[in-house]
Amino acid sequence: MLATHGTAQSIQSRSAAPVAAPKLQVDDLTKRYGSFTALQPTRLDVPAGEFLTLLGPSGSGKTTLLQMICGLVEPSGGRILIDGKDETRTPVHKRDIGLVFQHYALFPHLTVAENIGFPLRMRGMAAAEVEARTRGALDMVHLGHLGGRFPKELSGGQQQRVALARCFVYQPSIILMDEPLGALDKKLREHMQQEIKRLHRETGATIVYVTHDQEEALAMSDRICLMNHARIEQIGTPHEIYARPKTAFAADFIGVSNIFRGRVQRDAHGTPVLVTSDGSFRLTGEALPDQDEASLVVRPEQLDLDGEGDNEVSGEVVDTVYAGSETRVLVALGGGTTVTVRLRRGLAPPLPGDRVAVRWRAEAGVLVS
């Protein structure tokens, strides 16, 4: 899966040349509106069949990037290659790309079946085949009985499925999805996530998916491309991004993180430590040079209230949060930081006001600049 690595020029050098040309290549793509930069020069390769998610807060440039890929927005610079062919100037309707819109963009004057048949008719397909394929697509999204209805007569979830069917029906080589589940409630959203995954598996399509929901990104993606301030922050598998965030932003944006800010020093044994207002913590791995400002990221599940660990800090329980499958304990440390600790299964939750010791193994911490 990871034959290539996406890169943002300043973050990481490109790895070895790919074996085959990727399905989609974005080459120094830029978008400026006057003095405002919506997307800084960006590089990104997406291999065939991959499910790549563009994740980031609003205004991070992910939708701009998506719209340039499908041709709705003209780039200020750079190139877009599909199957190795330069498509930067190809008009939108001639690109072999499907786009699922945020609010579905179903044609209100056409029936469900006509909506789905639309791209097929645009491709000059015979009426009989349009009908057959449309029926197939409707069945694929379990809406076989609703072909004659108009979009406004459907529920939000059903409309979403029609939008998906309309996109998958003509088998575009790349499918782009712009926050397609944003308008759905949580339960329905999780269900549709599974549907999209299934369609991805069944069709083998290459999908670029935009969301600001990190849980959705983690659940669905082969790779996540994390964006912030009009550029790519980090790119990698969900696990890589979660376990090895490269920046404090990445750590903070994805999952719950405890972040200690401080300065790298050596202790009496010559071991690198991070000196923070809450104490000095041991570091492992290739530490940063001495005296550098850095942040130590430790996930709640790596912290323990009475387990083992070579780093320890004490504090006072502020609150416990029960979330069904787990319980989190919020602990205020002496230096002013409040950390979140996931309570190990079977332990009785401490009461607010209790003094506790929080411990973790040095290897569990990730140092970011």
Binding site: H93, R95, G98, L99, A105, F118, F150, G156
Partner: protein, 587 residues
């Protein structure tokens, strides 16, 4: 989703409007019943009475049937009105399309140009066209200057179409524009990503979504054209005889009101049949720019045929556009729409451009170009108490009419927007009725009513008469905006402690301000350019500006009319610029 949720909430809480929302339409209904239905019904009633015997009689209808001329004139009237509507759509659609995609501020200014014809009196506009299109007119002078033979542009179908389309085009554009601006542009993007070329996206998506606006503009221009008589009489030939001309002749020259009533009924029935057909096909509510309510039931052959037609149109224009693109190049193609729109706007302002120099002429005639310049005609105007008095009265009456019509129509539009009653459609049609009845019929009927209640030759009488005529336009303008209003904001205001009146004044009214301003302007201009009611109800005592213009043209046309138009134009433009500022929501 959200709308459905909201409606559900409204259903569970049906007593929020204690009297039911339809009560808000009551003032309008009462107003129209007393001042419109009663006078018109009495005059039309004459057509079936035999006054000698005191019994019912069908003799006048028998005469219509026996004499083919009335049927032929009715057909001619329908043909001219239909052609006017068609051409107004043809020229208006690209202009509206272009306006719809402009940024909001620029659009507001461009719309002012579109409205220029509104602010020139029908009489003056018509004479301006005579000056432009005549045998010795502006265009033929230019042709002669270049050595080309002169063209017959006046006193034929072309002249009538120029005058009528010019008068109706603003109405068509302003009806289509709100529908177009609310079309979700992402749908066009979506069509593009699904493989539709720009031409296909337009015909198969955008055009279809704009159809309710097109249909509404078509009906409004058609119905309004039915009552025209000055323009066809002055710019047309014998073939362009309109039924309204014959009705007026029966009322004023022959004094045969019974027969006039029969002819009016004849025309009214024809217009109602048109409305009925329209309602079957599009739904009357589309007149307010509402999307077609019939999409769900329009599964029939009609819809399929329409789709095929549009697909063919798309194919045709692809071929045509491709060929044109190869000839003039893609760069020129991109300029096509702005150039076309500019040409249509030139057509709209052309009469005004002719009127301005004539106002400053030194000649006693409407010569163009003027042989010399002077301020003579402004002096005539400003030194005449009659002219200045008529101007002041016209502004006053129009202002009062605009306020009254906006309030009454506004309440009715709110009522219908909130109501789910099955009477909705009927009430909607009722508010449009004053558009269909020939004005002279209404004016004569109103005189009798006013004579009984002491309103003849009063300003109040003029205001009431004009309000009846202005209501349909004000009603349509407000309905178009109210239907997009988010009623949850009113609920929010209520939960925050505002009573119903405060909610209306502090939340609803500011949010639908655009529609209210449009309604105000429509009502204002309806009154400002009205002649029939002014003649009868004014009784020659309370003279309005159009009436004074009409009186002044007894012997010959003189440039005072142009000077007056220029003064009015300057005042109105100033008011419009202020209105445009008010209209922009304070975002």
């Amino acid at each position: 989703m959200s709308a459905a949720t909201f409606q559900g909430a409204a259903d569970t809480e049906p007593r929020r409007w204690r009297f039911g929302p339809l009560w808000l339409a009551a003032p309008g209904l009462a107003f129209l019943t007393v001042f419109f239905v009663v006078p018109v019904a009495r005059l039309l009633g004459l057509s079936v009475q035999d006054l000698d015997a005191g019994t019912w009689s069908g003799e006048h209808y028998a005469r219509i049937v026996d004499t083919s001329v009335y049927f032929r004139v009715l057909l001619g009237t329908f043909r001219i009105s239909g052609l006017t509507a068609l051409l107004s759509l043809l020229f208006g659609y690209p202009l509206a399309y272009w306006l719809a995609q402009l940024p909001e501020r620029t659009r507001g200014k461009a719309v002012l140009f579109v409205m220029v014809p509104f602010w020139t009196s029908y009489l003056v506009k018509t004479f301006a066209w005579m000056v432009i299109l005549g045998q010795k007119g502006v265009i033929n002078q230019i042709l002669a200057g270049t050595g080309l033979p002169s063209l017959p542009l006046l006193h034929n179908e072309f002249g009538v179409m120029a005058g009528m389309v010019h008068a109706m085009l603003p109405l068509a554009v302003l009806t289509m524009l709100p529908v177009m601006t609310t079309i979700d542009r992402r749908l066009v993007d979506a069509a593009g990503t699904l493989g539709a070329s720009p031409v296909n996206s337009f015909w198969l998506v955008y055009f279809q979504l704009s159809l309710p606006g097109v249909a509404a503009a078509g009906l409004l221009t058609f119905i309004s054209s039915l009552g025209f008589f000055i323009v066809p009489a002055l710019l047309g030939g014998p073939q362009q005889t309109m039924l309204a001309q014959l009705i007026i002749a029966q009322i004023q020259e022959m004094l045969n009101w019974a027969f006039a009533g029969a002819l009016s009924t004849f025309m009214l029935v024809a217009a109602l049949v048109t409305c009925w057909v329209y309602d079957r096909m599009f739904g009357l509510s589309t007149l307010s720019g509402e999307g077609s309510g019939r999409a769900g039931s329009a599964q029939g052959r009609l819809r399929a045929a329409g789709m095929r037609l549009l697909a063919a149109l798309a194919k045709g224009s692809t071929t045509l556009g491709g060929a044109a693109g190869r000839v003039v190049g893609p760069r020129a193609m991109a300029w096509l729409l702005p150039l076309y729109s500019a040409a249509v706007i030139v057509f709209l302002v052309a009469p005004a451009l002719v009127v301005v120099p004539i106002a400053f002429t030194s000649s006693p005639f409407l010569d163009f170009p003027p042989p010399g310049y002077s301020l003579n005609w402004f002096r005539v105007y400003f030194e005449s108490d009659v002219w200045v008095g008529a101007t002041v009265r016209s502004f006053g009456v129009a202002f009062a009419t605009a306020i009254l019509a906006t309030v009454v129509a506004g309440l009715a539009a709110l009522a219908l927007a909130r109501s789910t009653s099955r009477w909705r459609g009927a009430i909607f049609a009722f508010f449009l009725a004053p558009m269909i009845v020939p004005r002279i019929v209404f004016a004569v009927g109103l005189f009798y009513l006013f004579a009984q209640i002491g309103l003849v030759a009063t300003d109040i009488g003029l205001v009431i008469g004009h309000t009846v005529l202005a209501l349909p336009f004000a009603f349509i303008a407000i309905s178009a905006v109210v239907k997009g209003h988010d009623w949850r904001l009113d609920q929010a205001a209520a939960t925050l402690g505002a009573n119903r009146f405060k909610t209306l004044m502090l939340v609803t009214v500011p949010l639908i301000r655009g529609g209210l301003v449009a309604a105000f302007l429509f009502a204002f201009i309806t009154s400002f350019d009205e002649l029939s009611v002014a003649i009868f109800v004014g009784g020659g005592v309370k003279t309005t500006l159009p009436k004074q213009m009409w009186d002044d043209m007894i012997l010959q046309l003189n440039p005072t009319l142009a000077a007056v138009s220029f003064v009015v134009f300057v005042i109105v433009m100033a008011l419009l610029l202020i209105a445009e500022r008010l209209r922009r929501p304070a975002r």
